[in-house]
Symmetry: C2
Subunit: 231 residues, 2 copies
């Protein structure tokens, strides 16, 4: 492998892979996306990420980088010539990191649960947690964007990527449950942001289409449920 | 409050607070440590960190920064004149971030459980998880330190702080359970590292003494157990 060749072990359904792809797109990095079959993981994936055994994995020459938010930061630091992904001010960076960590630790588990849970009361509570999170992000958006289009200002940045990667799955959960979670009346700024983010060329080229993801999700939900039962 | 005054909402028993203190010490930042009573949290803490309601919180003039690893990065970025805490190479930074996240997400829960669990089989399994983690860190140390004294090289860095903050509690768990977890024979490099890290002046001044923490832990374990029962 050439010393600077870039490969990404990926999966079109993974919001975490989407983060890495958007970052690479923003920096105009020429990379090869290597699709993984997540029900039969390749030796390359298991060897590259023996700790978590998950996509995305970025292979940059001899260097292997795992974990989506760490990959995004790495891409931002290595390809410094493109638009900045992390905010330039240390305090803004700390704020973006804080909310990105919140999304992964506190909010995302509800997105996953929203695909699996069947029992009516538990499902209602999960959907409620998702909307409460969105209300919090509306408030965060107002503070971070400072009147501009994105969390990151005039261009998409770290927090846009951290949250925006879940939009297609959010729409699938809305369709499965026949509810509106990202409500224009309740979270108007976030609603507008979701539209603008999805329309960005660096995002649009890799964000899964809702119809296709919805069709896929039917089989995927069964797999997730089986996985949870095995635990 | 003066625009650049630095305050840290803290607790002497918290390994996460210790991370922030070490970073501030390394950068020679003059700061006021404000002790919090974690069983009766102050309005200042609840107002400053409404999402997690946890120490440490760094108050830098009008800026409020929460979450220990984010604080360490902020301190490194704002007080750039002192020794670098994050490695200077993007790949080394990604590696340090990967292991720091692993410590918090996968390894630390066993440290906490090691203080609470009473049932013999579950306790044995938890202590085993802790030692397996240490074996992994021995291997990581070999790769990261490149023959030098610390994960960060010649001076302590991000990963040293992320892991080293738990050393006093690790010793307390050893004493409570009458076992050796950080074994000189099995993990000689990490054993030596733990000694060197604890002896660093910027660490030593704030790391709790094992005897004092052990005495404190007797009451603290009862509180943790009560907390877990309430969940």
């Amino acid at each position: 492998m050439a010393s600077n060749e870039v490969k990404l072990l990926s999966s079109w359904i993974s919001p975490f892979v989407l983060r890495a792809k958007i970052a690479l797109n923003m920096k105009r990095v020429d990379f090869e996306s290597i699709p993984e079959d997540l029900s039969a993981k390749s030796d390359l994936l298991l060897r590259s990420n023996p700790v978590h055994k998950k996509v995305p994995v970025l292979i940059h020459g001899q260097r292997i980088i795992c974990e989506s938010l760490i990959i995004v930061q790495y891409v931002d630091e290595v390809w410094a010539s493109g638009p900045g992904i992390l905010p330039s001010d240390p305090y803004d960076r700390a704020t973006a990191r804080f909310w990105a960590a919140y999304i992964d630790e506190k909010w995302y588990p509800n997105i996953r649960a929203g695909l699996v849970i069947e029992e009516a009361e538990a499902k209602k509570a999960t959907l409620e947690e998702i909307t409460q999170g969105l209300a919090l992000f509306e408030d965060t958006f107002t503070k971070c964007s400072k009147g501009k289009k994105f969390f990151g200002g005039d261009t998409i940045g770290y927090l846009d990527i951290a949250l925006g990667c879940f939009l297609a799955w959010l729409r699938v959960i809305e369709r499965i449950n026949n509810v509106i979670l990202l409500d224009e009346a309740k979270t108007p700024r976030l609603f507008r942001w979701a539209h603008d983010f999805s329309a960005e060329p660096d995002v649009k080229s890799d964000m899964p289409e809702t119809d296709k993801l919805f069709e896929y999700s039917k089989g995927f939900m069964l797999k997730l449920k089986a996985l949870d039962k095995k635990k």
